[in-house]
Amino acid sequence: MNEHSAAAAADPDETTPDETTPDETTPAVAATPADPPAERKVAAGGGRLAKTGTTPAHGPVRKAFSSPFGSLFVILVTVLWTIPTLGLLATSLRPKQDVATSGWWEVFTHPDLGLSNYHTVLFEGGFGVSGGLLPYMVNSLAISVPATIFPLVIAAMAAYGLSWVRFRGSDTVFFIIFALQVVPLQMALIPMLQLFSGGAHLGSLTVVPAFNLSGTYAPVWLAHTMFALPLAIFLLHNFISQLPRDLMEAAVVDGASHFKIFRSIVLPLCTPALASFAIFQFLWVWNDLLVALTFAGGTPEVAPMTVRLAQLSGSFGGRWELLTAGAFLSIIIPLVVFFSLQRYFVRGLLAGSVKG
């Protein structure tokens, strides 16, 4: 369990990964004997002394705020926070007639559930248009995977270059990249769109030819990759620059080139940080609406789920049984990713400011 993480490198509150993440990250389902519950905190190397017995490590604070009302409040909020999604799921499983005439909470008294809405929504459309959500779902996947991998690899390379390849001005370059986090997406949309459609010209000189990329995923991939870089480089730099110096120097003495060091030392050691960012970026891209709307348009050839759902929500607001099924389809993959990889996701969150 004594692994480092991006959190350890950049988390504003000095804690070992084990202390930041154990309880909030393992869903109860996954609690196995190998996975100590919160009550039996094992202090990792460099952490505080292990407490004996079963007193939780944060006794004083905990005791100070303990009251049955407090627990009741938490349970109440949890229920409140869960019900909307539950209602969505329940509605998507009910037949059309029931959805239109009674509230979804009736499922507890008249359960009549089936998957037919999902079938309709995926394969038939059912919104008065031919074709269902399936192509859009495929688009979401086809957009998200490369848009996660491209920035990850490019940022890891840049972070290594800034950390270990000594050159004049590397600090300045790092700082500028760091500062680029302040540029909101909205600033880049119009010029990027003009660039993709018309190229770039200085007077009569063509600097960048017009890409003929419309109707392909390329603009969306590119846009996501560009927008992800500042944060990705910042987070990975925090991690890569903390790798042990003597390890690097030993490799150089052995005659390894930068390229070899990067491939065979840096990448394997960085897996936790890379995983954190990958999950983060995947969820970000999958859930994004703005970039997709701007660069993919609304066609079934390229547009992802979010774009289609936003359209449907406007024009078919009354067909709740289909809209809810569609919405649930669009959140199912993020939820699976989230619940199975929560630990890494939280680390990514704690590792500094959040994507914007």
């Binding site: 909030e24 909470w105 086809a142 880049a188 759902l309 939820l335």
Partner: protein, 335 residues
């Protein structure tokens, strides 16, 4: 799968596999090119070695950042001083329009309201939950469930809540949860939620709070756990308990994190246009800056005005992000 396959035009599956194949092919091609570059560059030695390494490692990122962020930043500012097809210089006219137009006034006011209410509510609630949840049995379940909306897209969240807010005439059975609750609590004729101003704006904010509270809770919870036991012990020996302990010990100890969370949620709130766009389309007095910028630029094709709004948005976000960055740097410098 075979059953559905029979019902489907074969085209759909071939289409899907072609798309995914293209996508994975792009990834494979990208990695392949990198491998070749690495191999070739790795063989270069001597005086060429270092400049080559700098170029290969940093080149792609720097190039993409210049094309994708630096140049557009400059260009958006430039466009904001021109008319819609960028042929006539207007000076500050677009900004004048943004600051004097009544419709935009309302948009700016709404944006400010969002900026104040949603982040404070999410952070406040997150803090209370972080304090309370820590001592509970099975805390991971509560945390996971409250944190879950973070994984859901804002579009998905908007549809979820659109359904919660669905209103019908009181004579009919309700299908929206909120109306049902209101009637259950004795409100004879609850309003049509999405149409009643200014209530609708607050109901839209609730979606943002729903999404962001879990994030605030998880980060603050980590910060609270990092407070050394000695500090709380000492405070307790001095007789601080309950609220006093919270206000004079816990909050000061996690102040930086608290501010970072608050500003982070603020930045998200400022730039998020998905909720307003999906739930009301910006109608019924709910429009906000980010969505107005989008519709000026890409629906009405007022490039100049849209750019001016983007610049205003940038100026609004700038101090928040700058503050965040300074804080984080300070924290790191201390260690």
């Amino acid at each position: 799968m075979s059953v559905t396959r029979a019902l489907l035009a074969d085209g759909a599956w071939t289409d899907a596999s072609v798309k995914l194949g293209n996508s994975l092919g792009a990834v494979a091609g990208f990695l392949g090119i990198l491998l070749v570059v690495f191999y070739v560059a790795g063989r270069a030695s001597g005086r060429l070695g270092r400049p080559l390494a700098v170029g290969v490692f940093l080149g792609p990122a720097v190039l993409l950042l210049i094309i994708g962020l630096v140049a557009p930043l400059v260009r958006t500012v430039y466009l904001s001083f021109y008319n819609d097809d960028s042929t006539r210089f207007l000076g500050g006219k677009n900004y004048g329009w943004a600051l004097t137009n009544d419709g935009i006034h309302h948009v700016l006011f709404n944006t400010l309201l969002w900026l104040l209410v949603a982040p404070l509510a999410a952070t406040g609630l997150g803090l209370v939950l972080a304090l309370l949840v820590d001592r509970m049995r099975g805390q991971s379940v509560y945390k996971s469930l409250i944190f879950m909306p973070m994984a859901i897209s804002l579009v998905g969240a908007s549809i979820i809540f659109k359904f919660v807010y669905e209103a019908r005439d009181a004579s009919q059975p309700q299908i929206g949860l909120l109306s049902q609750l209101a009637i259950g609590l004795g409100w004879q004729h609850p309003p049509n939620w999405m149409l009643s101003q200014p209530l609708n704006t607050f109901l839209l904010m609730a979606v943002m709070v729903w999404v962001q509270t879990g994030f605030a809770m998880v980060v603050l919870s980590a910060a609270i756990k990092a407070i050394p036991d000695e500090v709380t012990e000492a405070a307790r020996l001095d007789g601080a308990g309950g609220f006093k302990l919270f206000w004079f010990v816990t909050v000061p100890m996690i102040r930086t994190t608290l501010v970072v969370v608050l500003t982070t949620v603020m930045i998200t709130t400022l730039k998020a246009f998905d909720i307003v766009r999906t739930m009301t389309g910006g109608n019924f007095g709910t429009q906000v800056l980010a969505n107005e910028m989008y519709s000026q630029s890409f629906v009405q094709f007022n490039t100049g005005r849209g750019s001016a709004l983007a610049v205003i948005l940038f100026l609004a976000v700038l101090p928040l992000v700058a503050y965040n960055i300074v804080q984080l740097r300070k924290e790191r410098a201390v260690r």
